[in-house]
């Protein structure tokens, strides 16, 4: 069928219009979600929100001061424990994939890492439940950290691999040529050169894990109160922001709903913050190389 040049140009413009329209349709919900979270949660962000524990529902309904201080501390404790567990293993696996490319284990490792990365987070929670909660006999902060470490691990391994691969092979050859053994080449030249990439990857993994609620519901479980002693953060049930947000949102109390929105502000703020930091770090990496 013959079409004139004019018709073809019109079709080009129509398609461009449709593409722009789709882009707007996809991006509008993002704006709406951020808007509603800020508007609804801002009222609950008070001094008490950061200094008081939650307590029972009656506390909020009678207007006595309640807050999420135990949740905020619990999130920091559990997430950093997870980071401590996941970073050595993830970076080690990334080094394995990038620096020993001929190793027989690597094809297997890559498939298994991608598989672990593709697994729903709720299954990582079930795994941590069976491995830690069942033998210990109680829900605990440590089991939550292990579950989150399973979330972080494959992301750190992948980003480490690609950060190290982006370092030119000549840098390694230079190190070997001046007589450094291979492990010194990796630790003293390749990894410092890839430092920004390693930090960015870890940050991405951390930001992903901070927002996960599913693995925590049956590992760190949740707690309305501050633990009595510091061991409670490790060996007792611990509150974390995403899991608390879920519990608040499905609760029947409107005071708690508003606190849930405020918890949403904290989560969203942290995620957007780390997202921007990661972008800035990556841009620097590209501009210097």
């Amino acid at each position: 069928m013959m079409t004139t040049l004019k018709q073809r140009r019109i079709r080009d413009r129509i398609m461009e219009g449709l593409l722009i329209l789709s882009t707007i349709v996809v991006l509008v919900p993002l704006v709406i979600i951020v808007f509603h979270v800020i508007v609804n949660g801002f009222g609950a962000l008070s001094w008490e929100f950061f200094t008081e524990e939650l307590g029972s529902p009656s506390r909020a309904m009678q207007g006595r001061p309640t807050g999420l201080v135990h949740t905020i501390i619990g999130t920091i404790v559990v997430d950093f424990m997870a980071l401590i567990l996941a970073v050595p293993v993830g970076i080690g696996a990334g080094v394995m994939l990038s620096e020993y490319p001929d190793h027989k284990m690597n094809p297997m490792l890559r498939v298994m890492n991608d598989t672990l990365n593709g697994m729903p987070a709720v299954l990582k929670g079930l795994l941590a439940f069976v491995l830690i909660v069942k033998p210990m006999g109680t829900f605990s902060g440590i089991s939550g950290a292990v579950a989150l470490a399973f979330v972080m691990l494959p992301i750190i391994a992948r980003t480490t691999e690609s950060a190290l691969m982006s370092i030119p092979w000549t840098i390694r050859e230079a190190g070997l040529a001046i007589g450094l053994p291979r492990w010194r080449v990796i630790l003293s030249t390749v990894m410092p050169a890839a430092k920004t990439g390693l930090v960015t990857g870890t940050l991405i993994a951390f930001a992903r894990a901070v927002g996960e609620a599913a693995p925590l519901l049956f590992t760190s479980f949740g707690n309305n109160y501050l633990p009595n002693s510091w061991t409670g953060w490790l060996f007792g049930p611990v509150d974390t922001l995403p899991q608390r947000l879920y519990s608040l949102a499905i609760s029947p109390y409107s005071e708690w709903h508003q606190m849930g929105w405020a918890a949403g502000i904290l989560l969203l703020g942290f995620v957007v913050f780390s997202f921007i930091v990661a972008r800035i770090l990556t841009r620097q990496k590209f501009s210097t190389s």
């Binding site: 080009d12 789709s22 991006l27 696996a93």
Partner: protein
Amino acid sequence: MSSPAKNRSVTQELFRKPPAMIYRWLGDRIFSTITFILGISIILITLGMAWVLFDEASPAFREFGFFGFMTGTTWDPSVQMLFGAWPFIFGTIVTSVTALGIAFFPAIAVAIYSAEYAPRWLAPIIDNLVNLIAAIPSVVIGIWGIFVLAPWLRDSVYMPLFLWADVNAPGLLPLLGNPIGYGMATATIVLALMIVPYTTALARDALIAVPKEQREASWALGATRWEVIRMASLPYARGGIMAGAILSFGRAIGETMAVAMLIGNKNTLPFSVLGAGATMPSVIINEFREAVENLHLSSLMAIGFVLFLIALTVNLIAAWISRNYSITGGSAV
């Protein structure tokens, strides 16, 4: 930067005293052994996950049989103690497939616009905003869905639709179900929004990887911009786009919190379009904390194992597609 100076001091030190054999040989051995152990622990975790889920699920599989469990339509933890996973498998597949159907074309459109049409200053902004959708925690989208999206959909879409059907097409009513706002349709819409970034990111990568010559050849033949995209870029990027869509499907299958908060949680078939339903992750989330009977716990673990198998299959298919198509550009060229 201190690294040149540091490297120089390292070099000088090496020239002063030649490193001992033990420093080179043993150091390398220790280092590679440590990385090997760290690497193999990831393999062990993944295999361990499969084994642990299967092991915990085995009482349920023994009781009902593997296929009996998969196809069983009754899930009754309170009276009959009968557990069949089919309602949840059905719910997961229906919501995920529909969500992918809703998300696919807008997601590809965003990728095409950002990769081919958008001005240079705008493209990275679009990419970052789309990626930001993926970064929003699932529970935040969930709370927004509970208090904003679901009430709005109920009042502005579901109720008018329901009332219209009540008058004009009563036969449709059982299919539509109860328009309470929390149900399959709402969960699917949210799911579609949440998987758009994955489809877009991979489609965009595939479009950017199309060689310049491929486009230039079409330009030289006098094609318009859309014709270049449709006849040169899209066929070439097809493998990457398909792999991205399948990976997004995998994301949709495993998406837990937002779905659990919005789907209404009903354990018995039949599910209806607007009415409540359930998916595999949502039933685990809702019942695992309250389950006391061993058979109930084991059945939830069995659902986890089935979810593992489905996620594994989807990931392997996506890996296979991207390996076979995106490097060579696919058979369409």
